[in-house]
Structures are given as structure tokens and as C-alpha cells.
Amino acid sequence: MSAGRLAGFVRSGAAASVAVRTAAALAAAVAVGGLALMIAGLDPVDAYRAVLDEAVGSSFGIRSSLLQALPITITALGVALAFRAGLFNLGGEGQIYAGALAAVLVALQARGLPFPVLVPLMLVFGAVAGGLWGGIAGVLRARLGLSEIITTILLNFVAFWMVSYLVRGPIQDPGGAGYPYTEKVVDGARLPVIGDTVPAGVLVLAAVAIGAWALLERSVVGVRLKDVGEGPSAAAFAGWRIDRQVILALVIAGALGGLAGAVELSGNQHRVSDFFTPGWGFDALAVALIGRGTIAGSVAAGVFFGGLRSGIDGAQTSVAVPESVGQIVQGTAVLFLIVANADVAVRWARRIRQPGHGRHHARTA
């Protein structure tokens, strides 16, 4: 894995051209999703209109969309930070489980604490648990050279089966008729919804986004992470300890995944089950890639895909849009984005426009 190329994928071209290419890739992916809907016998325009209506057509819809967007986007910001350091965090699912588990344990143990103490405590413990879980992959990468692409995925399954065991055994809801979940946390452990529309978790997201931006663009830590992302030689030349940056990047990524799990637990589901995340960790991965590892891009893409997930969910009753359309759109959007940014593709296009001159523009790979 050469990390230098990664940076090339992250920032190629001027801001305007990046926005245009991303929008084009998203539009193409939405069209592929529409094609799938047609194959399923639906009118794609009607179906998408129903999805849009469910996602943003009412204050309930907006609230649901934001609730979906929160875990995806908070996790995605962690994925984005790791991505800038040249690392792929495929472990969002496991980190979300780790964070939710820690948060629910805090809430069940300290249920008497007042809201202003309990909720921050849950969020902190969630972030710490996620950070530790992500840190395992960081240490394995930094000390033994194990690919984080493989270890983070394997750790997802370990986290899932551990939670699955716990919610069927030690921390199962005693009054839950045998369902695989914990009891619900007390009111004092719940993040409220402001004015019926805006979940309070949005404030957490805003703080995380500003913090992540400041870390990346205004701190020496950000400089180090990005240097590592430019490639080991660049970081070594600057004098950074690469192993420490690698561990730090995956700890931060894991912490944000864990925080996302805690926010979701406190602000929405109120209990942990072994169907707690419907795949937000992978949504977050696609979102961070589509956002090209930038904070603003990840937030924008996260809100978009949160809305899409919520809209599809809401439309189930009226138009029955399969949930998986969201994943099809995400995956193809990333593919189109790669194509739109591939040097080779750009050169091909140039060669077609200016026959005979293409070769002069060829950049060294």
C-alpha cells in the first residue's frame, strides 16, 4: 500500500473541479440506483420522489434523516482522519458496537447520576472504548506491520459476536421476554430532540467536525498525520515517528466510531442489541471516500447518505424501495469518483479532444 497515491486520490485538482466531479459521480450513481429500481419494477422517478419526500418532506422526516446521518457522519469523520494518514479504517461497525456497549454499561451502572454528568460520561466512555478497539489495529499495524484493512474487518466480527453474547447473557434485559437486547437506559441518559426536529446529537457532530478540522488543518498533529499520508519517506524526512502517528490515527478513528455508537445509543435506540448498526460503519467508509477525506466533504456526504437511508426506510410502506439501493448508490458513487479522477481517464479524454497531443500531457506516474 503506497500511501502517497492515496493523497493523490484525496486532493486532485481545484476545489470547483473537485465539487463538479463529485457531483457528477453521485448523479451517475443515483442513476444506477434508478436503473436497479426499474429492474425491480418500480418507476425510479416516483420511487426517488417518495424517498426525498420521506427524508426531508416533514419535520419528522428531517429528524429521522438527522438521526441516521449522525452515526454515519461521526464515524466517517474518523475514517476521513485515518484516510488522510494513509490508513483505511474498515472497522467502523466494531467501533460503533464498542462505543455503544461502553455507553450502555455506564448508563446501567450509574443510572442515578444527573443528565449533565451521565450523558457526557457515556459519550466519553464510548469514545474511549472505540479508541481502544481501533487502537488494537493501530498497534498491530505499527508494531507488526499487519494490514489494517484486514485487521479492522476481523475485529468487526469479534466485536459483533461479543455483543451478541453479552446481550443474550450477562446484560440481557431481564424483562425483555428473551429478546437479544439490554434494557433501555433511563431518561437521564438520553440525548433529547430539540424542538421536535433537531436531535441534540447534531451539537456533538458539530463539535466533532470543528475539532477534527482544527486538528487536521491547524495543529501539528494534523501536519504529522498528513505527512504520514504523503508516504513514509516524507514523514521520516520530517522527523516524525511513523509508528506513533499510525497508532494515533487509528485510535482517533476508533474513538469517533465509538462516540458515534454512544450518541446513537443515548439519542435514539436507548439500548444495545446485536442488530444495533445496520451497516453504518461501511456507510461511513463510503462517505469518507466520497468526501475525499475532507471534513466538509464527509459531513456533506454523511448527511446525504443519512437522508437517503432514512428516506428509503420511510418509503418502505408506500413504495417499498429496497434498503440495499443505498449501498448500490454508495459503492457505485465511489467507483465513478475513482474513474472521474483517474489520471489515465483524464488523459484519454484529452487525447480524444486533441488528437496527437495526448502524450505530451502524460504525467509521470
Binding site: 500500500m1 499487519l146 485487521t151 475485529l155 463510503a286 459503492g331 465511489v334 483517474a342 481517464a345 502524460a362
Partner: protein, 310 residues
């Protein structure tokens, strides 16, 4: 403890272990071919999933498991062709391409299952029952374990032998490895690097697809969302554990298979053991072996780097 000993000494454990090792072995074999050519194929999981879905689809539509095999392999090769088009021809980032394909295939197979079968109620289809090799299966001790398997197990073993020979003993294998070590030099010697990497990627897709078919048609004869269950990533780890050597893939895959078989058996025989923790075991073991055996590994020098002709 006594129960565990009983399980460990039963031939049925190792018979199941071989069966469960086969999908991972086939996918790892494919990955090895791709990586020897310089392409790291993170989309392996998606290709396995496409194969698992295609196997059930084909067997359902044509009422013949062998046509399921063909359907599954074809679907996986289509996924591999996208990987090759984006990551080889367009020199896009190999890892990002693979990640994107995994997500898209997870969505697409789930979507198609709901489109073909209303409400996603995937039926039971014709699969591969064990077939005892005449004569050999009655050998005392190992007869039943090794020679009482489904037809795809023998096919996997044969493919392993063939690919070992192709990679290490043929001109094509030598050229492929050149593309993985130093594509620029290979190109200057007249080897068509892009074409070689396309071939390797498609072979990888076919093998991963066959492995995927085996997950669905070799065991439970139906499809469920995401049923590849991370085996593509376990196969990625196994290639590294086996240090890019086809023959080393066998013990690495068998270790995983026996461990998974152990988890499944213990679940049935010892109700007091929490089965969820047993099911986490294959993943923990893969991590542990990966961490313990990684040592000094030498990946192909140009692994992961797209080749752009100048």
C-alpha cells in the same frame, strides 16, 4: 473439557474442517494469482458474495447445481472485470476500488435476492451432497474424512495443484510474476503488463466466485445477505500467512476451516459453552496467526501499484 476432547478426536470435525476450508482456500488461491501479478484485490469479499448469490440463483433457475456453479463464477468474474477496468486499465487506486466493489456487491446481491424472490424468501435449492470416492473412502481412519466430500472439494484440490504448476512451472506464471515484481522491466521485455494483470484479476474473480458458490451450495443450499461473512478478508490474511506460496495456502486454510468446524460442533454438542463466543473464534484465530506468523514476509515488489505505460 471432556466434551472438547471428544470433539477434537472425531473424524467428523476434520471432515467439516476440510469442507469449511475450501471457500477460503479457493479465494486465497485467486488472490495469490492477482497479487503475484501486482494487484491487491480487496474486492475479494464482494466476488465471493457474488459467487454465493449466483450459485443459488443458477441452481434455482436451471435446477442444476453445476449451472449454479457457472452462474456464480460468471457473476464474480463480472465483478472482477469492473475491478480490472478501474484499477488496472484506468490505474485507479486498487484498495479504494475493492472497498467500493464490496459495498456495491453487498447491496446488489441483497437487492437481487429481493427482486428474484419476493420479500427475500430465498428457497432451498439443489446443492452438492458428499460424494464418496469409490474405494478410497473406505480407507480406515482418513477415508471418510478426506474422500467423502462434495464434488467441489476435489475440484478445489485439483485447481490448487494446477495453479501451483502454472505459477511456478510455466512461462505464463513467470511473466505474471515479473508484472508483480517490476512491471516497467517486464514491459520493456515485451510482456503486456495490462493484459497480464487483467487475466490475473479475472482468474482471481473466477476462483473467489467458485469459493462463494461453495459457501452457498456446498453447505446450506440457500443464500442470505452478506453470507460471505468476512471470508474474503480471511483469505487476504491467509495469502500473507502463506507468504504468497500456493502450497502454504493449504495448511493455512485448513487451520481456519478446522477452527470454524470446532466452533460449529461445540455449539451443537456442548450447550453450556456460549456459541456466540465460539463463532468469534475463527476471526480471533486468524488475527492471532496473522500476528504470530507475519515475521519477515516478502510481498511482490510492485504489489498495489497501478502500472501506467509511458
Amino acid at each position: 473439557m471432556h466434551a472438547l476432547l471428544d470433539i477434537l478426536t472425531s473424524g467428523a470435525l476434520y471432515a467439516a474442517g476440510i469442507r469449511l476450508a475450501v471457500p477460503v482456500f479457493l479465494a486465497a488461491l485467486g488472490e495469490l494469482v492477482a497479487e503475484r501479478g501486482g494487484l491487491v484485490n480487496v474486492g475479494l469479499e464482494g466476488m465471493m458474495l457474488a459467487g454465493a448469490f449466483g450459485g443459488v440463483l443458477g441452481s434455482y433457475l436451471f435446477d442444476d447445481p453445476w449451472l449454479g456453479v457457472i452462474t456464480g463464477v460468471v457473476l464474480a468474474v463480472v465483478v472482477a472485470a469492473i475491478q480490472a477496468g478501474v484499477a488496472v486499465s484506468l490505474a485507479g487506486d486498487q484498495i479504494v476500488t475493492g472497498i467500493a466493489l464490496n459495498i456495491a456487491v453487498l447491496g446488489a446481491t441483497s437487492f437481487m435476492a429481493r427482486t428474484v424472490w419476493t420479500d427475500g424468501n430465498v428457497p432451498q435449492v439443489e446443492g452438492f451432497d458428499p460424494w464418496a470416492v469409490p474405494g478410497l473412502s473406505s480407507l480406515p481412519g482418513i477415508g471418510d474424512v478426506v474422500f467423502g466430500q462434495g464434488a467441489l472439494v476435489y475440484l478445489a484440490a485439483a485447481l490448487g495443484a494446477v495453479l501451483w504448476w502454472v505459477l511456478t512451472r510455466t512461462d505464463w506464471g513467470l511473466r505474471l510474476r515479473a508484472c508483480g515484481e517490476d512491471p516497467r522491466a517486464a514491459d520493456s521485455l515485451g510482456i503486456r503488463v495490462i493484459a497480464m494483470r487483467w487475466q490475473a484479476t479475472l482468474i482471481c474473480g473466477a476462483l473467489a466466485g467458485l469459493g462463494g458458490v461453495f459457501i452457498s451450495l456446498g453447505d446450506i443450499f440457500t443464500f442470505s445477505d452478506g453470507m460471505s461473512g468476512g471470508r474474503g478478508f480471511i483469505a487476504l490474511a491467509i495469502v500473507i500467512i502463506a507468504r504468497w506460496s500456493p502450497s502454504h495456502l493449504v495448511p493455512a486454510a485448513l487451520l481456519f476451516g478446522v477452527c470454524e468446524a470446532l466452533a460449529l460442533r461445540a455449539q451443537v454438542t456442548s450447550a453450556d459453552l456460549p456459541y456466540e463466543l465460539l463463532l468469534a473464534l475463527p476471526y480471533v484465530l486468524t488475527l492471532a496467526v496473522y500476528a504470530g506468523l507475519v515475521g519477515r514476509t516478502l510481498p511482490p515488489a510492485a504489489l498495489g501499484r497501478p502500472y501506467v505505460r509511458r
